[in-house]
Symmetry: C2
Subunit: 245 residues, 2 copies
């Protein structure tokens, strides 16, 4: 099923004892429908505060009498208002929401303004200057391709290496916001936020006429976490989609 | 000053005993800065749940040493995160935020979708069908001009008659939403929500091939509240601006 959620009031996606998590409320809803525990797999384990408009979650059910198009409404009746099933379909038993995923898409929303916008405070990162989109995109373009992204990996990430393939990564003006969109076959822990934080810090320094040595490409190649800037805040990040074969 | 606020957690704009209101938190912030009570006037007394990106509030101050451009940051330091001063300027003493206002602009956000979007649940009204924009705008166009809007006035509104002048009123697709934008010299209590509710109900009936007699223009001319449809929910309405001479 495709899930959307407002991450503000969740301690992230993954189940944690004593915390309100997205996986927790989804598995509670499934348990209520099935009369017993149902395990799930998810495409991405989003961090605390991170949102989703295109998270994918799979599970095994014996309620085969419920047709595909009824699953959304049935589960939504058991879910809190900050999580909604957008669509659901039957998949082959070998499908795994995480391991079958080929590409994940994230967006990071930025508002260039002097004061916060109360209506978007949960969803955008406000910065008090105007981004030089061309210069920043010239740097972001070096991310595209297969690289070792150790520079942008937080300590404590998972074990399967730091090499990933990025398919696109760019900043665009969308209405009065700037949206950073990035797609990869997988992401390291805090990778998007670390990339955004580093690119924004370099852009701000450009405005202050500070000259950057090393270049952004040098930072990527160095595979050294110390070269990255601050990690941008979680609340402006959203998992917008996942591609499967 | 120009104010933006998220109306979700407020019992409307106007001070009410025992309730959290926008005026209440603004006057508390002003009192904290001035060391005593400061009265305010506001362009529009938005209802519970209604948002603003362009509310205007005026007050008298003896803190003339604070320059115009510092007032926003100074007040924001005393305000909760769901209210922000966007800008402030000195105005002549005869200026009154309500009585000097010439035109008020409102927007009503509609999402056509089968399931709610958790990230926009506080700001959009979801409907499970596609609006016929051309047919609905043909009806909305009859609102433009000077009319007696008694059909769309809730009981208990203020005393100064039910005649108002509407300058524009139309539905437009904006991204994946439909936005109803309306501007008038003033609005009756629940007028925008009553208009939106009536137009949406007629649109839904069109989809179900129900024939409408009377026409929307007939309803307006009848000046009879009984002819209006249900009042659309408050949480999708936003005061977006006010024009002064």
């Amino acid at each position: 099923m495709r899930l959307a959620y407002d991450g503000t009031d969740f301690a992230g996606y993954q189940v944690q004892p004593g915390e309100r998590t997205v996986q927790g409320v989804v598995e509670s809803a499934l348990a209520a429908m099935h009369g017993g525990p149902i395990g799930t797999s998810a495409a991405g384990r989003t961090d605390s505060g991170v949102h989703a408009t295109g998270q994918y979650v799979a599970f095994m059910t014996d309620l085969a009498s419920i047709p595909e198009e009824r699953w959304g409404a049935a589960l939504n009746g058991h879910l809190p208002r900050d999580v909604r099933v957008q669509a659901a379909r039957f998949v082959p038993p070998e499908f795994h929401a995480r391991f079958s995923a080929r590409r994940r898409h994230y967006r990071y929303r930025i508002l260039e303004a002097e004061a916060d916008d109360p209506l978007r405070r949960r969803y955008v990162h406000r910065i008090p200057w105007q981004i030089d989109i061309a210069a920043t995109n010239a740097e972001a373009a070096t991310l595209v391709g297969t690289h070792d992204f150790a520079t942008f990996a937080a300590a404590g990430g998972e074990g399967n290496g730091t090499v990933r393939t990025v398919y696109y990564a760019d900043f665009r003006r969308l209405g009065d916001e700037v949206v950073f969109a990035i797609c990869a076959n997988g992401f390291l822990w805090h990778m998007v936020r670390s990339i955004v934080g580093t690119l924004l810090q370099r852009d701000r320094d450009r405005h202050r006429s500070r000259i950057h040595k090393p270049t952004f490409a040098d930072l990527l190649e160095a595979r050294d976490r110390a070269g990255a800037g601050t990690t941008a805040p979680a609340h402006a990040l959203c998992l917008t989609g996942v591609d499967y074969d």
